[in-house]
C-alpha cells in the first residue's frame, strides 16, 4: 500500500504564483473572501448539484489554506507540484520517523538517546534526577536552536526559489529544490528529537 499526496495546485486556488514567501495576513483575507463565496452555508437551500459544487470548492479552498499558511506544508506542497517525490513521512505529524541521522548531529543524538533512556528508567522507578533533568533542558535548548537554524536556512532557499521562479534555468531550480528537500529531512529529524525531549520532560 502506498500513499501519495494530492497534486491539486493550492497556489492557483488563491491565484498566487508558486512563490514561497507569502503574506499571511493577505492570505487570510483572501481565504475569508473566498469562503463567503463558496461556503455550503450559502448554498444550503440550493439544488443538490450546486451544493456538491460548493462542497468541492470549499473543501479545496480549506485544504489549500491549511497547507499554504503552514510554512513547512507549503514548501512540501511546492516540491510535490514541482514533481519531487517526498519521503512517505508527511508534514508535521509525519508518522514514519525519519531514521537517518544527519552526520553532523551523530554525537549529540547518541548522547541524547542515552539520556532519554535513563529518564524513562528513572520514571519507571519513580525517581527524579535533577542533573539529568538539567541536561535534558540543555539539550532542548540546543535542538530548538538547531531547528531555528534550519528554518532560517529554508527561508534563504525560499528567497532563492522566488527569484529563480521566472528567470532561472531548470538545473538552477533543481539545485534549490534538492537543497530544500535535504533541509526538510533534517528539519523533520530535529523536530522529532525536540518532541521526544519535550515528552520526556513533561511526561
Amino acid at each position: 500500500m502506498t500513499t501519495i499526496g494530492s497534486t491539486a495546485d493550492y497556489f492557483a486556488v488563491f491565484d498566487l504564483p508558486r512563490k514561497l514567501h507569502l503574506d499571511l495576513a493577505q492570505l487570510e483575507c483572501s481565504f475569508y473572501r473566498l469562503s463567503r463565496k463558496y461556503h455550503p452555508d450559502v448554498y444550503a437551500t440550493k439544488s443538490p448539484q450546486e451544493q456538491q459544487w460548493s462542497l468541492d470548492q470549499t473543501s479545496l479552498l480549506n485544504d489549500a489554506y491549511r497547507t499554504l499558511k503552514n510554512s513547512v506544508a507549503r514548501t512540501e506542497h511546492l516540491l510535490r507540484l514541482e514533481g519531487v517525490v517526498l519521503e512517505a513521512g508527511k508534514s508535521e505529524d509525519g508518522v514514519p520517523k525519519d531514521s537517518r541521522v544527519p552526520p553532523d548531529l551523530l554525537e549529540e543524538v547518541f548522547e541524547l538517546n542515552m539520556q532519554l533512556e535513563e529518564m524513562r528508567m528513572n520514571r519507571k522507578m519513580g525517581e527524579d534526577d535533577p542533573q539529568l533533568r538539567a541536561d535534558l533542558e540543555k539539550a532542548r535548548v540546543t535542538f530548538e536552536s538547531q531547528l531555528a537554524a534550519v528554518d532560517s536556512n529554508l527561508e534563504e532557499q525560499w528567497t532563492k526559489w522566488d527569484a529563480a521562479l521566472d528567470a532561472s534555468p531548470a538545473d538552477e531550480k533543481t539545485k534549490i529544490k534538492d537543497e530544500m528537500v535535504a533541509l526538510l529531512d533534517r528539519r523533520r529529524y530535529i523536530r522529532n528529537l525536540v518532541r521526544d525531549v519535550n515528552d520526556a520532560l513533561e511526561g
Binding site: M1, T2, T3, I4, G5, S6, Y32, S35, R36, H39, P40, D41, A44, T45, L55, T58, S59, L60, N62, D63, Y65, R66, K90, E92, D93, V95
Partner: protein, 640 residues
C-alpha cells in the same frame, strides 16, 4: 401559505429546546405547558403511547423501567464504549447486543435505538414549533457537542430524519453559543467558549473578524457534565443510607430516582445558598435527610471540574494562543451556574487578574438553541442581522487510516477547517487481487486499536492486474456537518471502484428508513388528534365560563335575544365537541365566543371600574380568576 421556517434545535443530554429567528432576534419556542425547556426524557407507558418531556418525568418515580433519559450519552456508541455509563445510569440494554452493534434499549417489552429515543424528543420539539407557527416544520439545524465523533453526528442526523426533519446542518454547540453572543455586538478578537452541559464538555476557541466566526481549535470530553456531579452525590447518599439505615438501595431503581431528584435540587440550590438539604422519602416511608454545605459540595465535585482543565489547555496550545490573548470567555451550559466552575474558568483564562469577567448574559440553558436559530437564519439566506455572518468550523478529531502494523496514518488533522478532504492512493499486494480493505479511524492515538473505528471499506471490483499496478484513488471528505464521505476510483482502468461502507456503530440507510416510516405514520395521526384535543379543551373552557354566567349580575344586562343566542350556540357547541369534526368545532367555539363578547365587556365593567374594551368571555373570565384557565398560552395551531 407562509414561508416555511428552518428552526434551530438544541438536542441536549438533559434538556432540549427549539428556537427560531423572529425578525432580528432569536427566540425560544415554548411547549404547550409554556415552558422553554423540554426535558430529554421519553416515557413509553404502553406500546401505543410515547410521552416526552415534563409529563414523562412523572413516570421516573412510578415506573422507571419505562423511561429513558440522558440517551444522548449513548448516541453513536457501541457496547464497549459505555461500560462506565452503565455503572452510573439505569440504562436497560437489550440482552443480546454484540460488540460493534448499534445499541438497543429495552423499554418494557420493546426495544429502541438511541437515535429513535432522540427522534421522539425531536418530534416533540417539531410539534411545539408547529403549534407555534400554525404550519408544518420540516427543516432544522441541530446542535451537537463539538467533540462528537463521526458516528455520534451521524446518529444525531438519523434521529432528525426519523422525526421527519431534514437536518440542514449540524452545528457545534459552543460555536452556536458564540453565534448567539456575536449577534448583537460587533466583536473582533479571540473568544473562548466553555460549555459544560448535562453530559458533555466542550471548549472552543474562535477568531471573530468582520462577521466571520472562525473556529481555530476545539477540544472536550463527551463523557463529562452535570450528570457526573449528580452521580457523585447519589453515590454519597447511597453510602450514607447504607451506613446509617442499613439499607442497600443500589439496585432499587425507584429509590435511586427519588434520590437523583433530591440531589439535583440540592445541587441547584447550592449555586445560590451556602447550605442545602437533601431530603428523600425512602421506600417503606423512612426519611433520609442530610445537610450539605457549599464547601463540602465544592470538595466533592472538584475532581469532576478539574477534568475540564486539560482540554482547555490543549485547545489553547492547538490554537497557538496564551490565556492572555483570549479577549472574551463565554460560559454555556447549566453546569456553569456553579460558582466553582466560574472560579475555575477565571483561573484557566486569567480573567480577573486582567479585569475581565466571563460572559453569562444569555441564559446558559438557552444560548445554544438561540445560536442554532441564528445559524438556521443564515442558511435561509440571512436577514439584516445575520447577512455578514459566516461560521467556519473545524473537525475535532484527526481522521486516519490503519496502516501496516496497526499504526494510524493521519490523513486529516484535528482542528482542520471543514469541509476538508484528503486524497489517498492504494494498490494491491497480490497478483489479480480484486478487493482492498481499508479501515478508517478517528482519534489522536498512534495505534488504530486505541482510536475510534469509523468504518471498514472494501474497495471491490478492481480489474485483474499485477500486484502494485492498480492505482485506486480514494477521496475522504469531511462535510460541513463533520460527517465523513468516501469515494473511490481505479485510475488505470478509469473504473469507479465500488465501495461497501460498513459504519462501525451506525444504522444503515434501510434501518433509518424503516424507523422513519413507523414514526411518520403515527405523527400524522398524533398531530390531528392533538389538534382535536386542543379544540375540545378550548370549547370546554368557554362552555364552563358560560355556565357560570347567569350568576353574574352582568347577565341581566343582556337582552333576552342575546341570552337566547348564547344558549343556542352553547347547546350546539356541546354537541360538536363530542364529534371529531375539527373545523366545525372551531367554528362553533368562535361563534359562541363572539356572542358572549358583550357579556364579557359588561362583566369587566362591573368587576373592575376600568372598562377593558374588546375582551372576550374567555380572556375576561381568566382575568377575573374564575373558571378554568386557558389550556395553552397561544392560539391553537392550524394546519390546512
Amino acid at each position: 401559505m407562509t414561508e416555511v421556517r428552518i428552526v434551530g434545535i438544541d438536542l441536549g443530554t438533559t434538556n432540549s429546546l427549539v428556537a427560531f429567528m423572529q425578525s432580528d432576534k432569536p427566540v425560544v419556542i415554548p411547549g404547550e405547558d409554556g415552558l422553554n425547556l423540554v426535558p430529554s426524557v421519553v416515557a413509553i407507558p404502553s406500546s401505543k403511547q410515547v410521552v416526552v418531556g415534563n409529563p414523562a418525568g412523572k413516570y421516573l418515580v412510578t415506573s422507571p423501567e419505562r423511561v429513558v433519559y440522558s440517551a444522548k450519552r449513548l448516541m453513536g456508541r457501541g457496547i464497549d464504549d459505555i461500560q462506565e455509563e452503565l455503572k452510573l445510569f439505569p440504562f436497560h440494554l437489550a440482552e443480546d447486543i454484540q460488540s460493534g452493534e448499534v445499541l438497543r434499549l429495552q423499554v418494557a417489552e420493546q426495544q429502541y435505538t438511541p437515535p429513535e429515543i432522540g427522534a421522539y424528543v425531536l418530534r416533540q420539539l417539531k410539534k411545539n414549533a408547529e403549534r407555534y407557527f400554525g404550519a408544518p416544520v420540516t427543516r432544522a439545524v441541530i446542535t451537537v457537542p463539538a467533540y462528537f465523533n463521526d458516528a455520534q453526528r451521524q446518529a444525531t442526523k438519523d434521529a432528525g430524519r426519523m422525526a421527519g426533519l431534514e437536518v440542514l446542518r449540524l452545528v457545534n454547540e459552543p460555536t452556536a453559543a458564540a453565534l448567539a453572543y456575536g449577534l448583537d455586538r460587533q466583536k473582533e478578537g479571540i473568544v473562548a467558549v466553555y460549555d459544560l452541559g448535562g453530559g458533555t464538555f466542550d471548549i472552543s476557541i474562535l477568531k471573530l473578524h468582520e462577521g466571520i466566526f472562525e473556529v481555530i481549535a476545539t477540544n472536550g470530553d463527551t463523557h463529562l457534565g452535570g450528570d457526573d456531579i449528580d452521580n457523585l452525590l447519589i453515590a454519597i447518599a447511597l453510602d450514607d443510607i447504607h451506613g446509617e439505615l442499613g439499607l442497600d438501595l443500589r439496585d432499587k431503581a425507584e429509590a435511586v430516582q427519588a434520590i437523583r431528584k433530591a440531589v439535583i435540587e440540592a445541587k441547584i440550590a447550592l449555586s445560590g445558598a451556602d447550605t442545602a438539604r437533601i431530603s428523600v422519602q425512602l421506600p417503606g416511608g423512612q426519611p433520609y435527610n442530610r445537610e450539605i454545605t457549599r464547601e463540602q459540595f465544592e470538595q466533592i465535585i472538584q475532581p469532576v471540574l478539574e477534568r475540564t482543565i486539560g482540554p482547555c489547555k490543549q485547545a489553547l496550545k492547538d490554537a497557538g494562543v496564551t490565556p492572555e490573548q483570549i479577549d472574551e470567555v463565554v460560559l454555556v451550559g447549566g453546569s456553569t451556574r456553579i460558582p466553582t466552575v466560574r472560579m475555575l474558568t477565571d483561573e484557566v483564562f486569567h480573567l480577573s487578574q486582567r479585569g475581565k469577567k466571563p460572559h453569562t448574559e444569555l441564559n446558559p440553558d438557552e444560548v445554544v438553541a438561540l445560536g442554532a436559530a441564528v445559524q438556521a437564519n443564515i442558511l435561509e439566506g440571512g436577514s439584516k442581522a445575520t447577512q455578514d455572518m459566516l461560521l467556519l468550523d473545524v473537525t475535532p478529531l484527526s481522521l486516519g487510516i490503519e496502516a501496516l502494523g496497526g499504526v494510524v496514518a493521519k490523513i486529516i488533522n484535528r482542528n482542520s477547517t471543514i469541509p476538508a478532504s484528503a486524497t489517498e492512493h492504494f494498490t494491491t499486494g497480490v497478483e489479480g487481487q480484486a478487493n482492498v480493505a481499508i479501515h478508517v479511524v478517528q482519534g489522536e492515538r498512534e495505534l488504530a486499536k486505541d482510536c475510534r473505528s469509523l468504518a471498514r471499506f472494501d474497495l471491490k471490483g478492481i480489474p485483474p492486474m499485477s500486484a502494485g499496478l492498480p492505482r485506486i484513488e480514494v477521496k475522504f471528505l469531511i462535510d460541513a456537518n463533520g460527517i465523513l464521505h468516501v469515494s473511490a476510483r481505479e485510475q488505470r482502468s478509469g473504473k469507479e471502484a465500488e465501495i461497501d461502507v460498513k459504519p462501525t456503530y451506525g444504522l444503515t440507510d434501510e434501518q433509518v428508513e424503516s424507523m422513519i416510516l413507523d414514526s411518520f405514520d403515527n405523527a400524522e395521526e398524533d398531530f390531528r388528534l392533538r389538534q382535536l384535543i386542543e379544540a375540545r379543551n378550548e370549547a370546554n373552557t368557554i362552555l364552563a365560563a358560560v355556565e357560570k354566567a347567569p350568576a353574574n349580575p352582568a347577565w341581566l344586562q343582556l337582552t333576552e335575544e342575546e341570552r337566547q343566542q348564547i344558549a343556542v350556540l352553547s347547546e350546539e357547541l356541546r354537541i360538536l365537541k363530542e364529534g371529531d369534526d375539527l373545523s366545525s368545532l372551531r367554528a362553533g367555539t368562535e361563534a359562541l365566543d363572539k356572542a358572549t363578547r358583550r357579556f364579557a365587556e359588561l362583566m369587566m365593567d362591573a368587576a373592575v371600574s376600568t372598562a377593558l374594551g374588546g375582551q372576550t368571555m374567555e380572556s375576561a373570565s381568566e382575568k377575573l380568576g374564575e373558571g378554568p384557565t386557558a389550556p395553552h398560552p397561544f392560539a391553537p395551531a392550524e394546519i390546512k
